[in-house]
Symmetry: C2
Subunit: 442 residues, 2 copies
Amino acid sequence: MAVQVTESPKGTAVPTAPVTPAASGPVDLGPAAALSCRECGQRFDLGPIFACAECFGPLEVAYDLPTGDPHALRQRIEAGPNNIWRYAPLLPVPADVAAKPNLNPGLTKLVQADRLARELGVTGGLYVKDDSGNPTHSFKDRVVAIAVEAARAFGFTTLSCSSTGNLAGAVGAAAARAGFRSCVFIPHDLEAGKVVMAAVYGGELVGIEGTYDDVNRFCSELIGDPLGEGWGFVNVNLRPYYGEGSKTLAYEICEQLGWEIPDQIVIPVASGSQLTKIDKGLKELIKLGLVEDKPYKIFGAQAEGCSPVSRAFKDGHDVVRPVKPDTIAKSLAIGNPADGPYVLDIARRTGGAVEDVNDEQVVEAIKLLARTEGIFAETAGGVTVGVTRKLIESGQLDPTLTTVVLNTGDGLKTLDAVAPTTGPTATIKPSIDAFRAAGLAS
Amino acid sequence: MAVQVTESPKGTAVPTAPVTPAASGPVDLGPAAALSCRECGQRFDLGPIFACAECFGPLEVAYDLPTGDPHALRQRIEAGPNNIWRYAPLLPVPADVAAKPNLNPGLTKLVQADRLARELGVTGGLYVKDDSGNPTHSFKDRVVAIAVEAARAFGFTTLSCSSTGNLAGAVGAAAARAGFRSCVFIPHDLEAGKVVMAAVYGGELVGIEGTYDDVNRFCSELIGDPLGEGWGFVNVNLRPYYGEGSKTLAYEICEQLGWEIPDQIVIPVASGSQLTKIDKGLKELIKLGLVEDKPYKIFGAQAEGCSPVSRAFKDGHDVVRPVKPDTIAKSLAIGNPADGPYVLDIARRTGGAVEDVNDEQVVEAIKLLARTEGIFAETAGGVTVGVTRKLIESGQLDPTLTTVVLNTGDGLKTLDAVAPTTGPTATIKPSIDAFRAAGLAS
């Protein structure tokens, strides 16, 4: 195998990642045993593939999960690092993953939101899982962290993705830290602030003259071209591994609740992958005996301007009809969500629902969360909090049960959403008289 | 004592914080025993005061620190929550602090920065203490969290401050979470983005027609006025408590290094308070036997455009001559740093130094940290990394020793600093030919 060498500061040659993908040989991804097709069940060797060769269904990771005493496994997890690698025995990563350079996301705060609960009338316990605490301030750090380890195992040297926001920064940062080259593709007319967030990590950042769809189409072409050899596209040819990162949200929520599954979870739906993987994670915890088996309800949250799954849920359809997104919740604006049918299935099977709120309600909910709990959420967090309120009002979510609401991103990245309606209470001259006149001294 | 009541969702009256400050009675702030003057040593009862009645010197918290087996204390700390409250026995907070609503900052990552170390030629171990992981993404969450508990103890109902940036958001968020009213004063012409970050938490935000100095002068007036009764200004009448929050940086760094003091620490200098409190924290750890006593060197980092302490250090002066700040590192732009003389003393006593870098070097250092470690730092982080490089080049910092560099804030808040020089590598049409022509496919 060809090995790339670089000069260390002392002038000695040190090996870095190999140049050619080593996908043909056996790879060590811990408990990951194979890839299996979610549609037909066909199994494949672990490798950088993402669609079933038989039926074109999506592939996901199948595991040989640890057997034995659940208490011992709990203790092992609790003694692990303060990040997602504490769950390495349940993830497609090698056992020594914590020793490799990675951004080490996860173990973000599960905030007991008593003041928000009072506003919403929740009496059974309300918690916000706040993923703005991740290294680049969104849940994408979780999925990218797993993709990085898969890329390492397969011998890729470049990390790539198409993105209009959170993912670009997460990939750029993770690649920098892990010592990969990165090349991220964005629509050429992205807002200046987002370009800076994606470019600052020093990887290649390529503006594509076209829409986001054009960017995606180009990336698919590149994967099939010799030019793309050695490239791991985190959400394409590494997608089966990448997606598993979302399971850690389920693990953390349960561990942080004292190894208990909450009664209800409200999850944002973009592609739907996150919701399906959280469900997968909960089922694993039950199977392993790490938590007691109990019923739980999973709710999906969308923005009205991009609500194909919510629409299908309400209409009682199994098929999700694509839409053209038009919402301020850009991180959820996937008009043709790949995992939409699975989301419908999980919401219906667990007795949950999929609901949507309009942009005005998103902004109101962002502000509600900020003024009650001091959490400044991205628009996606406004969607979940707003949907939670709506589900309580409609009686679909039971306020007497324990409820966890996800905030998957950071308000600093979507300032524009709240800027028009967020400003100073007053502007005054620097004098006590002026302050008294403003009537703010209560 | 008057107690304010509010309506709970169920219509029953629930007591909240008392209206009148209870500063006269004894307060429970854990191991905090008194306030003592840093100049003349005079002691005062714990209360919302900040200057010595004898000599006008600054007051700081004096403790009755825990005695006994250091191993037991270590274990107690290690079993504590994953935030600054694990150090409650060493902070001016009640023993049950972790049960009160607070943003619970701290235990941010200490990143082993091997790739940055290679670029800088550090062989003794280089670590970045990354405080962008705090709830509002700056170290200010630490100091405000302590001020909140002091405000609670003194019966204040409004939290306030003057600010041009990080502090406004930290106070707004902490007040929201803890159930205080907040009223934050800012210069009226602050950038729109910063206004949103300060206003989104729903407290009062007052623009003052004048400069930042005018804002400060107005706040000092307000503290002395009956209108300001019941108000805790976190960095004025609560300053002695507030400042103690920075000690937690010292505690965490040492615990994260396996209860060892690093040989060298590079700390940004604005007012100088953070640096002096980190030194205080290290001395406490030694006194308590939590770490072994050993020599350590403390380095202060400033931006050239606001470098009064660095200037005094180089000139061999004990007095810091005020300057008019002109730098992109706005979070460090304090032209007349209150703790400047103490910083000089600590740097000289420990064998460290105070150095400065220009704005261009700040931007270069932000990018260096981003592309080596995936950490997008605020300008203050560019200052510390830039100064570290400069100190190594001049031989003042020993690259063979263990070194910790602080990043105290988040690049998302100072995008303007890097925007002019950070953009796409290329812009191309969505075709393989165009990509090949761009020469990025290596």
